[in-house]
């Protein structure tokens, strides 16, 4: 079981992310912390005509969290904002093809709540 927590998808996305980085002057951005580990992840978005046109993630996070953010953005880009808001853990897990243990589910869900926070225009706590 533990052998597939770090699936090929997670290892590949961690080593070679497709959406890691920053967007200059983003239309929406949010970041948050995983209280379990102190991981911080930020997602920056560009919006065009009610759709998520572009998004990038960066921060200090584990491989599972980074891979989750990467496949989440891949799933979300091009969709209407309302539809992005409906993306959930099940969608991301399907892409990751990994058996994530309960203690690490927060690593998967943090990017989802961060992307939603960005699209809802939430303020970053300091």
């Amino acid at each position: 079981m533990s052998a597939v927590q770090y699936s090929d998808v997670i290892r590949e996305r961690f080593r070679h992310p497709r959406f890691r980085g920053r967007l200059p002057n983003p239309d929406a951005a949010f970041e948050d912390v995983n209280p379990l580990c102190g991981d911080r992840i930020r997602i920056e978005c560009r919006l065009t005509e009610g759709r998520l046109a572009e998004a990038m993630h960066h921060g200090d996070s584990c491989a599972i969290c980074a891979a989750s953010a990467d496949v989440l953005i891949e799933l979300a880009v091009g969709r209407p904002v309302a539809e992005v808001g409906r993306l959930g853990a099940a969608d991301v897990l399907e892409r990751l093809q990994a058996d994530i243990r309960p203690t690490r589910m927060k690593c998967v869900t943090l990017p989802i709540t961060v992307l939603q926070g960005a699209l809802e225009g939430r303020e970053v706590a300091r």
Binding site: R15, C37, G38, D39, S61
Partner: protein, 405 residues
Amino acid sequence: MTLGEQCRGDFPILSRLINGRPLVYLDSGASSQKPRQVLDAMRTFYEQSNANVHRSIHTLGEEATEAYEAARDAVRSFVGARGREEIIFTRGTTEGVNIIAQALGRTLKPGDEIIVSEMEHHSNLIPWQMVCRDRGAVLRAIPLQDDAYLDMAAYARLLGPRTRMVAVTHVSNVLGTINPVADIVRQAHAAGAQVLLDGAQAAPHLRLDLAALGCDFYVFSGHKMLGPTGIGVLYGRREVLEATEPALGGSEMIKEVWIDHAQWNDLPWRFEPGTPPIAEAVGLHAAVAYLDKLGMDRVGAHERELTGRCLDALAAIPGVTIYGPRNSEMKGAVVAFNVAGIHPHDGAALLDQSGVAVRAGHHCAQPLAKRLGIAGALRASFSVYNTPADVDRLAEAVARLDSEL
């Protein structure tokens, strides 16, 4: 035979396989494993003597009370307190800090000052933040030097006429730094302030002599020192406890009650409202007896040897950064480290696949992690049952990490 090899057989859990490999348990700093002697003592208590304490006038009640109070005497002797009334049973270190923070908090005036340090566990930080916020008091922190020791010159400057409490850890749960607590106590008392020491990472590993140390309060947990969860100890110097109003009310902490007021009980029961952790006290008694039989000097020497071996082995692995003092003679039984390019939670999950259990994350010391400029770290911590072979298994698994992710 090393101490670890001598002890291992007493700990049933150590025969478990994890992911097909024999368990190497290097997370005793978070919670230690329990020897058969502790498990048996608690089982025997529940099977033979279980009842509430101090109030049931029947055979079981008397036996339970005797067992509970005998645990207090054992702990008194173990920590070198002058009197049994100085030993208060709590649920753990965190509760001990909160009891004193709440009690002191009631007497704080706006502008009063409390001193903590940059290396505190959240348990010895948040309770002080809360009372400072409530009372308009000021929280100050002794800075950490780059060599992982506290800046004692800065501490001397922080102390002043408004300082009411100095609350610092005896041994850092991340760095392993052993703080100069005798010096800290002496200077605080000279300034008229009280001192609370967080002994969660010290009591399991160092010989304590609290009467000689002179601190006002000393708190620690049972479960990190081979005992059960759910019990801890709040030591308070008798004169100070006598002058401290209890923060928590309930049964047992009173002598006589009227509808609108009450007279507090004597020490130590004044600070133990409600039914205490009785079976847990019995378990802690057995744990203390186990450590006493090994001898704390021998326990300390054994753990320093493992810590030194671990420091040497990890330092030899490319990409490994170690935090805290590098001299195992001046360090608690913990080694915190990172491997370049590997997040600590990924590292811990991959080590677990090799059967090696370590802690990962900020170790409930986020201000310290921020000071070190890291999101978190891996931490190996040692206890009596660990062996040099455990350290070698850790080092082998750490050396393989980069190729596994």
